[in-house]
Amino acid sequence: MRETMSRRHFLTTTGIFILVGQAASTVGPSPSWGAAAKVGEPAPDFTAPSTKGTPVSLDAYKGKVVVLEWTNHECPYVRKHYESGNMQALQREATGQGVIWLTLISSAKGEQGFVSAAQADELTTTRKAAPTAVLLDEKGSVGHLYGATNTPHMYVVDKTGMLVYAGAIDDRPTTRRSDVQGANNYVRAALDSVATGQPVKTPVTRAYGCTVKYS
C-alpha cells in the first residue's frame, strides 16, 4: 500500500514540476524542422526503397563518398541542370571516381514531381542520368531527416560518414540554362576537397529551387 505523501514532499515535487515547466517554456521557439542532419556531424542513417524495389541504406556505403540529390523532374530549376546536361555530367564524373550518387524523390503522391518506380527509371534512361540508385521517399521522412527544402538540394557525405556539404548545386540561383556555364559548382568543389583530404571551403549554402513537395 502506497504511503501517503507528506505535505513537504508534495510541495517539493510540485515545485520541481513547476520549475521544469518554466524552464521548458523558456526554451525559445522550436525550429520548424528538427532536422537531424548538420554539416560537421555524422550524416543520419536512413533506409529508402529504390526504384528496383530493394531497400537502400546510407550506412551500407560507409567507406565511400556519397552524394544525395533531391530532385523533382518538373521543377524549372531541376530542368535547367538536366536539360543542359550539367547534372548528368556531374553524376558521371562522380560515379567514375567511385562516389555513390543517390537521387531522392520526396514528392508526395499527387504532388508535382511524384513518379512511380517505373516512371523514375524511364526518366533516368531518357535523360541519360547516371545515379547509383534512385530512391523513392514518398512519405518525405528522409527529406525531413535531412531538412531538404528545395529541389535540387545537394548533400555530400565523406568516407567516414560525416556530412561535409549541404546546399545548392552552384551559385547561380536562376532557371536560365545559360547560367550553368561559368557557375561555381559547389558539389564538384566539395568532392574535390574530400578527394584531396582538405576541408570543404563553403560547407553550407542556401539551396535554391522549387520547394520539396512534401505531403
Partner: protein, 703 residues
C-alpha cells in the same frame, strides 16, 4: 465594285490580326507597343508618378505586378524558396535607373516552408534620373526586360518586356493617374528605424533586441523580423515577441548558416500597432549589430585574461583611479619606516579589496544578465541613481584631496591613522574605493576582454573580471612587494600637499562627466538636482571641516547639520532619477511647433488663424513614422509657412486630461490624431491616421 470586297477583305484581315493577341509561351519575350504586357499569372506594367519628365530631374517609376489569385511573387530575400524579380534595363542615353526599392513583404507559408513576397498586387518602386541634356518637347521610352518567379504550389519562371513612354517638359511635372499607386508603394517601403538593434545568438536561437524605450506593450499587436539574407533565422519557425519598458525582443530559431550571426544582420522589422481605427502595420529597416566584441569567438580564455590584465593596468592611469592610487602610494611612502612585511601586507590587503569588489561587480552583472537584461560593462552607468551616487562619492573624495574635507583618513592615508596601527582594513577599503572610482572609466583592451566575458558561462566571466581587478591592483601590489623603490622617492614634504590638491582636479573632471551622463539620462532637471546635491555635500564638508576648532556645542550642531545636508543630497538622487527623461530627443526638423493648450487653440481660432494639431505620444509607433515620413519634410514646413498655419503639438505621453478631452471631442480614444483647422469657424478636417506628405500638403493647400 470589285475593289470594295478586296479592300474589305484586307481591312478585315488587318483588323483580325490586330485584335488577336500575340501568341505567348511562358518563355517567349513579347514585342512591346503598349505599356501593359503579361502572362496568365502575372500582368506587369511600368507606371510612373508623373505625366512628363523634367530634364535633369529624379523621378519614380514602378513595376506593377498584378498577380493571379493564389499565386505570389517574391521579396529580395525570397525565404525558403523562390527568386525575386529583376529588371534588365534598356534605357535611352543618359538615363540611370536605381535598384528596386522593396515594399515590406508578407509571410507566404507554403506547406512547412515560409517565403516572403507579395500577393494580389504590388508596385516595386525604382528611382530614375533623367539627364539634363534632354530636349523639351521630345518623348522618351524607358524599356526593360523583367523576369520573375511566380508560384502557387508549383513555380513558373516568367518574363516580359516592359516599356513606358513619357514626354519631356520643362518645370515640375503634374502627377499622373498612377501617381497614387507609386506613392502608396513608396509608403510601404520600410523607413530607417529610429532605434538601435542588437543581435545575440545561441546555437539554437537568435535574439534581436530593439532598444525602443517608452513603448506600450498593449499597443503592439505583433512584431516580425524579415532578414535580408538566408541562413540567419529559420524562416518558417515562429518568432516570440516580448515588449518591455526598454524595448522589443524577438526570438527565432536559428538558421542553417553557421556564420549567419557572426556579422551584423540587416532586415526589416514589421510592427503591427493597435490604433483607434484598427490595426496599422509599420515597417522599419534595421541593422542588428552583433552584441559583444566581434572578436569574441576568436579570443581564447588566455587571451581574454591577458587583455583584461592589460586593461586593468591602463585603468590605473584613468582620471578616476589615478588620484586614489597615488594618494595611497604616497601614504605608503610617508610611512616608509614601517617594516617591509607591513608594507607587503598593505599591498595584499589592497589587492584583496580590489578583487573582492570586482567579484561583487561581476556577480551583479552576471546575475542581471541571467535575469534577461541585455547589459554589458558600464551597466552601472545606465541607472541615473547609480551615476548620481558615483558622482557624490567622487566629489567627496575630491573635496578630501583638496583639503576641504578630512574624513576617511585611513582611506586617503592622510593623517596619523596609518602610522599608529597597521590599518589593513583601511587599505582593504581603499581597494574597494579604487574599484568604485574605476567604474565610470574604461580602458583600451577592457572592452574586448569584457565583451568576450559576456559570451561565456558565469565562471569564465568571473575569471576575466578578476583578471581585470588583478591588473588594476598590480602596480600597487608590485610597489608594496618591492621595498627598494622607496629609496628613489623624494623625502616627504610640502610637495605632497601640492600633489594631493593637483590630483583632486581629475576627480572633479570625472564628477563633471558623470553629471553630464545624468543630464543625458534625465534631462536638465535631473542634472540640476544632482548639482544641488553636490552643493549640499560641499556645504556639509565645510560644516564638518570648518567647525573643528569651535566649541563642542556648535560643533555637534554643525555636524548634525552636515549630516542633514548629506541626507538631503542623497534624497535628491532618486528625484533626479525619476525626473522627466528626455532621452536624446532629436531636434525637430520641419515646421516649428508649439505645445497644445485649449486656450491657445481657442485664441488662434478666434483670430481666424489656420491651425494644425498633431496629437502624438512617445509610445505610438505610427505617430513616429508619420512624423518622419510626412511632418518633418521641408515641403510641409513650406506649406505651413505659405498658409500661415500654426502647428500645435499635443504630447499625450503622460496622458494629460486636456489632451484626452481634445481626443474625445473628435470621438477618438487614442493617438495619432491630425486635425487641420481653416480660417472660418467650423472649417476643420480630420486627416487619416496613416499620414502621407501629399495628403497633408493637399489639406493645407485647400485652406
Amino acid at each position: 465594285m470589285t475593289v470594295c470586297p478586296l479592300a474589305a477583305a484586307l481591312l478585315l484581315g488587318l483588323l483580325v490580326n490586330g485584335l488577336l493577341p500575340a501568341s505567348a509561351s511562358a518563355a517567349a519575350p513579347l514585342r512591346v507597343d503598349a505599356s501593359k504586357r503579361g502572362t496568365p499569372r502575372v500582368t506587369v506594367s511600368l507606371i510612373s508618378d508623373a505625366v512628363s519628365i523634367e530634364p535633369g530631374s529624379i523621378f519614380w517609376v514602378g513595376l506593377r505586378q498584378r498577380i493571379a489569385s493564389g499565386w505570389h511573387t517574391y521579396w529580395i530575400n525570397p525565404g525558403d524558396s523562390g527568386e525575386p524579380p529583376s529588371i534588365e534595363w534598356k534605357l535611352p542615353e543618359g538615363f540611370v535607373a536605381g535598384a528596386i526599392v522593396w515594399p515590406r513583404p508578407e509571410h507566404l507559408p507554403v506547406g512547412p516552408f515560409m517565403s516572403f513576397g507579395y500577393e494580389r498586387e504590388v508596385v516595386l518602386p525604382i528611382q530614375m534620373t533623367a539627364p539634363a541634356s534632354l530636349a523639351v518637347g521630345t518623348g522618351v521610352t524607358l524599356r526593360g526586360h523583367a523576369s520573375w518567379l511566380v508560384c502557387e504550389k508549383i513555380c513558373i519562371p516568367e518574363e516580359a518586356d516592359i516599356a513606358l513612354s513619357l514626354p519631356v517638359a520643362a518645370g515640375p511635372p503634374a502627377p499622373s493617374t498612377t501617381a497614387p499607386a507609386v506613392e502608396q508603394a513608396r509608403r510601404l517601403v520600410p523607413t530607417p528605424s529610429p532605434w538601435t538593434a542588437s543581435l545575440s545568438a545561441t546555437p539554437e536561437t537568435v535574439s534581436i533586441r530593439i532598444a525602443a524605450p517608452d513603448l506600450a506593450a498593449e499597443q503592439i499587436a505583433g512584431a516580425w523580423f524579415f532578414p535580408m539574407r538566408w541562413g540567419v533565422i529559420d524562416h518558417a519557425a515562429s518568432q516570440t515577441v516580448a515588449v518591455d519598458r526598454r524595448g522589443i525582443t524577438l526570438r527565432a530559431a536559428r538558421g542553417q548558416l553557421p556564420q549567419g550571426t557572426a556579422s551584423d544582420v540587416d532586415g526589416v522589422l514589421v510592427i503591427q500597432e493597435r490604433l483607434d481605427q484598427g490595426l496599422v502595420t509599420q515597417a522599419f529597416t534595421i541593422r542588428a549589430t552583433v552584441a559583444g566584441a566581434a572578436t569574441g569567438s576568436s579570443l581564447t580564455l588566455a587571451g581574454a585574461i591577458g587583455l583584461a590584465i592589460a586593461g586593468g593596468l591602463i585603468l590605473n592611469l584613468m582620471p578616476c583611479v589615478l588620484p586614489v592610487l597615488s594618494i595611497k602610494a604616497i601614504a605608503l611612502l610617508t610611512h616608509g619606516q614601517s617594516s617591509p612585511s607591513v608594507v607587503r601586507r598593505h599591498g595584499l590587503a589592497y589587492t584583496v579589496g580590489v578583487l573582492a569588489s570586482f567579484g561583487v561587480l561581476a556577480v551583479v552583472l552576471i546575475g542581471l544578465r541571467a535575469g534577461g537584461a541585455e547589459i554589458g560593462w558600464g551597466f552601472q552607468l545606465q541607472a541615473p541613481l547609480v551615476v548620481t551616487a558615483l558622482a557624490y562619492v567622487l566629489f567627496a573624495l575630491a573635496l578630501s584631496l583638496s583639503g576641504l574635507l578630512v574624513i576617511g583618513a585611513r582611506l586617503t592615508g592622510v593623517g596619523h591613522g596609518l602610522a599608529s596601527r597597521p590599518g589593513y582594513s583601511g587599505t582593504f577599503f581603499t581597494g574597494a574605493l579604487a574599484t568604485v572610482a574605476a567604474t565610470p572609466c574604461t580602458a583600451p583592451f577592457m572592452g574586448v576582454a569584457l565583451g568576450f566575458a559576456m559570451t561565456q558561462p558565469p565562471l569564465v566571466a568571473l575569471i576575466v573580471f578578476e583578471a581585470l581587478g588583478l591588473g588594476l591592483a598590480l602596480p600597487f601590489l608590485a610597489l608594496s612587494l618591492a621595498p627598494t623603490w622607496r629609496h628613489f622617492l623624494p623625502k616627504p614634504g610640502r610637495w605632497m600637499e601640492r600633489l594631493r590638491q593637483v590630483l583632486a582636479l581629475p576627480l572633479y573632471g570625472s564628477v563633471a562627466w558623470l553629471v553630464w551622463v545624468v543630464s543625458r539620462q534625465t534631462g536638465p532637471e535631473g542634472a540640476t538636482l544632482v548639482l544641488a546635491g553636490l552643493a549640499l555635500i560641499a556645504l556639509a564638508a565645510w560644516l564638518h571641516h570648518g567647525t573643528r576648532a569651535v566649541s563642542r556645542r556648535w560643533r555637534r550642531a554643525a555636524v548634525a547639520l552636515a549630516l542633514g545636508c548629506v541626507g538631503a543630497a542623497i534624497a535628491l538622487g532618486p528625484m533626479a532619477a525619476s525626473s522627466a527623461s528626455s532621452a536624446a530627443a532629436a531636434p525637430p526638423r520641419g515646421a516649428r511647433w508649439e505645445p497644445f493648450t485649449p486656450e491657445r487653440l481657442a485664441e488662434l481660432r478666434a483670430r481666424g488663424t489656420p491651425v494644425f494639431i498633431n496629437a502624438t505620444a512617445a509610445w505610438c509607433i505610427t505617430c513616429l513614422v508619420n512624423e518622419r515620413v510626412a511632418l518633418h519634410s521641408p515641403a510641409v514646413a513650406e506649406a505651413f509657412a505659405r498658409k500661415g498655419v500654426v502647428y500645435l503639438k499635443a504630447d499625450w505621453t503622460r496622458k494629460s486630461p486636456k489632451i484626452a478631452a481634445l481626443l474625445e471631442s473628435f470621438g477618438r480614444s487614442g493617438v495619432p490624431l491630425y486635425v487641420v483647422y481653416g480660417k472660418n469657424a467650423g472649417d476643420q478636417q480630420v486627416l487619416p491616421q496613416v499620414l502621407s506628405e501629399r495628403t497633408l500638403i493637399e489639406a493645407v493647400d485647400s485652406l
